[in-house]
Symmetry: C2
Subunit: 199 residues, 2 copies
């Protein structure tokens, strides 16, 4: 179980976090059904035996990827907060930056939203797991909004829970709308308008 303790048996030639990252990127861009086990083997750089020995099945791997995935932009948001940026400003920058990314990135959308979209009628277990991740992000937004309110920078009197749901809905929407309009200009006005609610 423990990786630092020396275990009997042949050591594995791959690093769990590395191959999981590779699998996540492929699932993210192609979705579940359109990503074949063969495709996964290739980007993960492992043989069929190792793959099924380590992860059990394509579905089990997808579950694991869902659990460990974090969207790069969310990572940046957390980093900005950790370096002292005020919560409300960090949120605004987070959403404004969604207009500016290259089209190739925009086309991937949100892994969790994609999963809900693809699998809500096909595999409620996976779809629910994705929902839970987005709900966690929503709670994180609510927490930041509470901080901003305490600091007096948030004027909107609506409950943080509702405003956080508004932000998640903005995230969900933009990850579709971004793919309709790769052009940043088409999105900047929209995002500015949306952010007036937490001005």
């Amino acid at each position: 179980m423990c990786k630092v303790l020396k275990m009997a048996g042949r050591p594995s030639q791959f690093e769990q976090s590395e191959v999981l990252k590779a699998a996540a990127d492929l699932f993210w861009s192609r979705g579940y059904a359109s990503t074949s086990a063969e495709d996964l083997l290739q980007v993960m750089g492992m043989g069929k035996g190792s793959f099924y020995h380590a992860f059990g099945s394509k579905r089990a791997l997808f579950e694991k990827v869902l659990d460990q995935f974090e969207h790069p932009r969310i990572g940046e948001l957390k980093a900005a907060l950790a370096s002292g940026q005020p919560p409300l400003e960090a949120i605004k920058i987070f959403f404004r930056s969604m207009a500016l990314e290259p089209a190739q990135i925009k086309r991937n959308g949100c892994f969790m939203g994609n999963t809900i979209s693809e699998l809500s009628n096909m595999d409620s277990g996976l779809s629910d797991a994705a929902s839970l991740r987005l709900q966690a992000l929503e709670r994180f937004f609510a927490h930041l909004l509470d901080q901003a309110r305490a600091a007096g920078t948030l004027k909107n009197p609506s409950p943080s829970v509702i405003l956080a749901r508004y932000l998640i809905n903005l995230w969900n929407g933009l990850n579709i709308t971004r793919r309709m309009y790769p052009d940043p200009k088409a999105l900047q006005d929209l995002i500015a308008l949306q952010l007036t609610l937490i001005d």
Copy 2:
């Protein structure tokens, strides 16, 4: 070509609009990749020969479905407008009703949004076709907002084009967020908050 003129040859035993509707419902609930040609044959009630003779391929059928599809709620909106309902009120009722539908309906989401989500990295032709349909809906919203503005019922001074994009983004977002929260109450407050922008 023309259906009313009698053509030589065996008459087809299916009605185009009927089988197209059946195919649309299946594509809508399962997406493109997870809907097999075999599945389609069954719900369309036709044999393999007829199917490929009439539609050429699964992809060509999907294209045709994308072109003719109209979301039932959009149909209701147009009907309400045709029967004299004021544009702005019709829009508000349209979005408020999204909270109330049964979970089974909510799980389908928006066929165009689903298509963008699934295929933007897999088949830009189909994804773009879905985008165009949503852009047409956006123009329709803009038209209604212009009417409301002319009637003096829309106070928000933002350009109709931007507000319409806001509404499309609301639609796109809700069709994901609805699947996170099948419970109407979780959605009603969100929708009410969102609609304050066109109050």
